[in-house]
């Protein structure tokens, strides 16, 4: 039997411990924000998760670029691993954001620039993953996926600029308690956010790493299959 969890791995342990501390800080230690009430606590998840999804997009574009440049498989693995984790984080970011916005802004969704940009980017990276799933395997799939990753990165500032202009023309409807007051928390907020962000960053890296390793194992299997095919062919039995 192989051990599924390697207890020597520091990253998941650090992530778990920090996550525990963060949960304690969020639900026990930090006082309730006076204007928004208990729902404000979801921000302590929302912000780190959003950070994780941004990190994901950043790594996808970076490693897509590196793959096109260096043609080294490891960049492709890194790109797809962080795209998958990034999309999960992105989905959670949108969800937690909406849950927070409904009581605080009085709407589930609005045409605010950051929201629009996040949503469109989420769709671009969904398309990235779907493309990988649909396209026949091989070097071309990796090349084309890298191109999509890169296009997404190039498009990001343009989307944000457009979303900003759009939001100016159609001011987002925000009427809830967040509209008219400063936070009552001050520096407490910063400490909790920082802890949660570090915890989620560790989690993110751990997930990407695991996904990367699985990907590597898959590639190794393909390599073995090719090699055994070569053996068969050399033995003159391949048609």
């Amino acid at each position: 039997m192989t051990r599924v969890i390697r207890f020597a791995d520091p990253l998941p342990i650090a992530s778990a411990v920090l996550m525990g501390v963060a949960l304690w800080l969020i639900f026990v230690w930090v006082p309730t924000e006076t204007n928004q009430g208990a729902v404000q606590r979801i921000l302590y998840f929302h912000v780190p998760i959003a950070w994780g999804s941004m990190l994901g997009i950043f790594i996808v574009s970076g490693s897509s670029f590196m793959y096109l440049w260096k043609k080294n498989e490891k960049w492709d693995r890194l790109a797809v691993a962080s795209a998958e984790v990034g999309v999960v984080f992105g989905g959670l970011m949108l969800l937690t954001g909406m849950i927070w916005a409904r009581p605080v802004w009085a709407v589930w969704w609005t045409g605010e620039a950051k929201l629009t940009t996040a949503l469109i980017l989420f769709f671009i990276y969904i398309a990235y993953l779907m493309f990988r799933a649909y396209f026949p395997p091989g070097a071309q799939r990796q090349r084309l996926a890298a191109i999509i990753g890169l296009i997404g990165a190039i498009d990001t500032p343009i989307i944000y600029f457009a979303a900003n202009l759009w939001a100016q023309a159609h001011p987002p409807i925000i009427t809830g308690p967040a509209a008219d007051s400063e936070s009552s928390l001050g520096s407490d907020l910063g400490l909790v956010l920082l802890t949660a962000t570090v915890a989620f960053t560790f989690l993110f890296i751990h997930l990407v790493q695991s996904r990367y390793n699985i990907r590597k194992a898959e590639d190794d299997i393909v390599e073995l299959k090719r090699a055994s095919g070569t053996k068969m062919a050399r033995a003159g039995r391949s048609s």
């Binding site: 070097a139 393909v222 090719r226 062919a233 050399r234 003159g236 048609s239």
Partner: protein, 248 residues
Amino acid sequence: MVTTAARFAIEARSIIKNFGDTAVLRGLDLSIPPGEVTVLVGANGTGKSTLLRILATLTKADSGSASVVGIDLAENGPLVRGLTGSVLHAPMLYSDMTVRENLMFFAALYRLSNVDDLIERFANKVGIESRLDDRVRTLSHGFQKRVALARALMHEPRILLLDEPESGLDAVSVGRLDDLIDEYRSSGRTVLMTTHVVEHGLEIADRAVVLTGGVVVLESTSPALDRASILAEYSPTRESTTKRDRRP
């Protein structure tokens, strides 16, 4: 503008090409001197077509390098394509344009001048002059193949890549094709071809290259004489493998 000092008309170095988990070319090396007709022999799936497609710059090798008259494919694709003429499996013609329109269009891409004369001349050469103003859709497969051949020849390439060029051609056209290949050889140009009529291919070729499992397992400079051993080597049902396994 073109370097002519190259020793080989076509050179391939450790070409690897995989499609998913099937390896098609497994580190293939090949050097073909100019002025020769080389026939690639091998069972289905041994990578003959893939090799031609790589040399025609339609497919990228996963690793390895290839050059045509000393010019690297990856470095100067357009120049290499200008020196190469290819007839591969599909005729690659627009079926709703006439033969003449197709040839004129491709002549424009090849930046040829005196296009009308060229088209007449090569249409006569491959025997399509009577159908020049018919739409490609109305032509039989054999005729389309001849149009494709005319397209590949129009720019007087120094290297001709042919993937089973005789398929779909009648006996007369095959004879014409042989003449054409002869003409190419005598003018010092190079032909690399596959054929599904192996025996015939071995008769007209100066050199035979046998592919098995994505590598070259045998090269012969007198294919007509080595016929027996070539056929034995290429036959997919053959049992003995010891000799071949020693080759890199």
